[in-house]
């Protein structure tokens, strides 16, 4: 059975600090509780998020820390109670039909949450047992996964002493142990070395080719670009763009982004920049304390720099810094939110 994911107008407001796995620093608004005498800080993590992930798709949630990615995964995997809205895994309402949902999903959390009282092999075996696999089946699957994830050498050691990368690999192996229809990966390659990251990408693609649905969150452009069939870019708990990586990149005006910093603020200069050939949009910097900067979207990059420098010297403004980025999801994110993914 193939299963997809659907959410409708999902909202989540934390009134106590969210668990660490649901995102580190939250960009939050502080509001006061209505009826309580003691005001509680309210952290809006999701603000009406609607998504539809088709069965068999690799879908990416892209956004900076605190955008609501982990909270979305938390709700879809029964670990976070939504404040409003609904979510379905296949035909099952996530909140009302938790056991059926848990059978369909495998989850890799942002931080390794391995059972530290067990060895690597035991973790896989007990996980299989929780899902009702018989002992022969469990043993075979565990062996295969230990091999696939290059964990055989340490398979009978307690996982407490494992490196971060090994724990992450074991977490992913564990999530695949019961062969779930949908795999959730919350920042799967965080903390992995480049070689392991490639192994992980290969395993994800391979799993997907067996018809499985994969939802992954990332703030890594390269990963989103390399793996995902479709992407939703989210920020402050809202969806700000949706499409294939190609479509999303093509939607950035001009494609190239030149981030400029001048010696002083000059609105006239910005107007003149707009007239240069190939420039599609000029935006003053979105930073409140920095009005000497501007973002120029254009269909060419390096060749514009000398023309910009000429215009600037003509207006007696010093050009202090230029940064050129090629068409990318990073630019798309900047275009929509005015801030970089890593800020």
């Amino acid at each position: 059975m193939l299963a997809g994911i659907r959410t409708r107008d999902l909202r989540k407001i934390y009134t106590s600090p969210p668990p660490l796995a649901a995102g580190g620093t939250f960009a939050f608004s502080t509001a006061r509780g209505k009826s309580n005498k003691q005001p509680k800080p309210q952290i809006v993590a999701l603000d009406g998020l609607s998504l539809e992930v088709s069965p068999g798709e690799i879908f990416g949630l892209l956004g900076p820390n605190g955008a609501g990615k982990s909270t979305t995964v938390g709700i879809l995997t029964t670990r976070v109670r939504p404040t409003g809205g609904q979510a379905w895994i296949g035909e099952h309402d996530v909140w009302k039909d938790q056991v059926a949902v848990k059978r369909l999903i495998g989850v890799v959390a942002q931080r390794p949450n391995l059972d530290f009282s067990l060895t690597a092999r035991e973790i896989l075996l007990f996980h299989g047992a929780y899902f009702g696999l018989d002992s022969r089946e469990r043993a075979e699957l565990a062996e295969a996964l230990l091999d696939r994830f290059k964990l055989r050498d340490r398979s009978d050691q307690m996982v407490r002493g494992f490196s971060g990368g090994m724990m992450q690999r074991l977490s992913i192996a564990r999530a695949m142990m019961h062969d779930p229809q949908i795999l959730f990966l919350d920042e799967p390659s965080a903390g992995l070395d480049p070689q392991t990251r490639l192994l992980l990408w290969e395993i994800i693609r391979e799993y997907n080719q067996r018809g499985k649905t994969i939802l992954l969150t990332t703030h890594n452009m390269e990963e989103a670009d390399a793996l995902c069939h479709r992407l939703a870019i989210i920020d402050h708990g809202r969806k700000i763009a949706l499409g294939t990586p190609g479509e999303l990149k093509a939607s950035v005006p001009g494609g190239f982004l030149l981030r400029l910093r001048f010696g002083r603020h000059s609105p006239e200069l910005l107007l003149r920049l707009q007239t240069l050939a190939g420039v599609t949009e000029v935006r003053p910097s979105s930073h409140a304390n920095d009005d000497n900067s501007a973002d120029v979207y254009a269909d060419r990059g390096g060749s514009l720099v000398s023309e910009i420098a000429n215009l600037a010297s003509g207006a007696s403004v010093e050009l202090c810094d230029v940064h050129i980025s090629e068409p990318s999801l990073e630019n798309l994110f900047l275009h929509h939110t005015g801030r970089s993914l890593r800020e």
Partner: protein
């Protein structure tokens, strides 16, 4: 309810307990056995305590060992598994309602407490003999009391384990378990508090009082003790109360 999953969860806890058997054994029995030796043997032999104290002490020691074991077996793993590392997440994602995970912990804690109780009687008897006069008149009420005490200890472990975090473990011992043990009528019968009428009323909120008095009433009924119906009703009440509170706290910890 999914039995396969439930049994697998129990098997996991049994496996971990087997691995930690020796530390668990020392942790549970060393302190009560030293107490038995000093108060039941040294103090009695030297004449500071009457010989009858041996028999009076044994049920109390059994109650303390059981309660301590049950609380420890359930609370300590929960405290660490709900911490930063969220080790429990794998089991929360197992295909079973999460309340059953809490109930599994309670059942496992109850079994451990029963085991502790059944080991402490012969161990204490060996340390104290001769001079221990056990009069087991009604094995059925003894079994009921023992079961309710074991259940109370595991439910208490669930409620405590889901209510405090790692930083407050020390506080749990000094603020909850220590007063509970000293005001739990384990080392003296409840009637010994006749001279402290206010304290005698206050200690009735301590469930260990009913555990000690219940075991005293069934093992050494020659000593004064609370009446059996009162003991059974009170223990059943505390079991239900702590289980309800524990499940509620468990849900609050498990789902954000």
């Amino acid at each position: 309810m999914n039995w396969k999953t439930f049994l697998a969860l129990l098997a996991r806890d049994a496996h971990v307990a087997r691995r930690n058997f020796v530390p668990l054994l020392l942790q549970t029995f060393l302190q009560p056995m030293m107490f038995v030796f000093i108060f039941g043997r040294v103090m009695v032999s030297s004449g500071y305590m009457p010989a009858a104290y041996k028999s009076l002490l044994l049920p109390g020691i059994m109650a303390i060992s059981m309660v301590f074991t049950g609380v420890w077996a359930v609370a300590m793993p929960l405290i660490s598994e709900f911490q930063f590392t969220r080790e429990i997440e794998d089991r929360l994602l197992a295909p079973i309602e999460i309340s059953w995970l809490a109930i599994e912990k309670v059942i496992f804690g109850t079994l451990q407490a029963l085991l502790a109780g059944s080991v402490v009687i012969p161990a204490a008897w060996l340390l104290l003999r001769p001079g221990v006069e056990l009069n087991l008149r009604s094995p059925l009420s003894f079994a009921c009391v023992t079961l309710l005490v074991a259940l109370f200890s595991a439910c208490g472990g669930l409620a405590l384990g889901c209510s405090i975090n790692q930083a407050h473990i020390g506080l749990m011992f000094s603020m909850v378990l220590t007063p509970m043990i000293f005001f739990g009528c384990a080392y003296y019968p409840w009637s010994a508090l006749n001279h402290f009428p206010i304290l005698q009323k206050i200690v009735l909120v301590n469930p260990l009082v009913y555990a000690s008095e219940g075991l005293r009433g069934t093992l050494v009924p020659q000593f004064p003790h609370l009446s059996m119906p009162v003991v059974l009703i009170a223990l059943a009440f505390f079991d239900a109360l702590l289980l309800t509170a524990g499940l509620r706290q468990f849900h609050r910890k498990a789902v954000s």
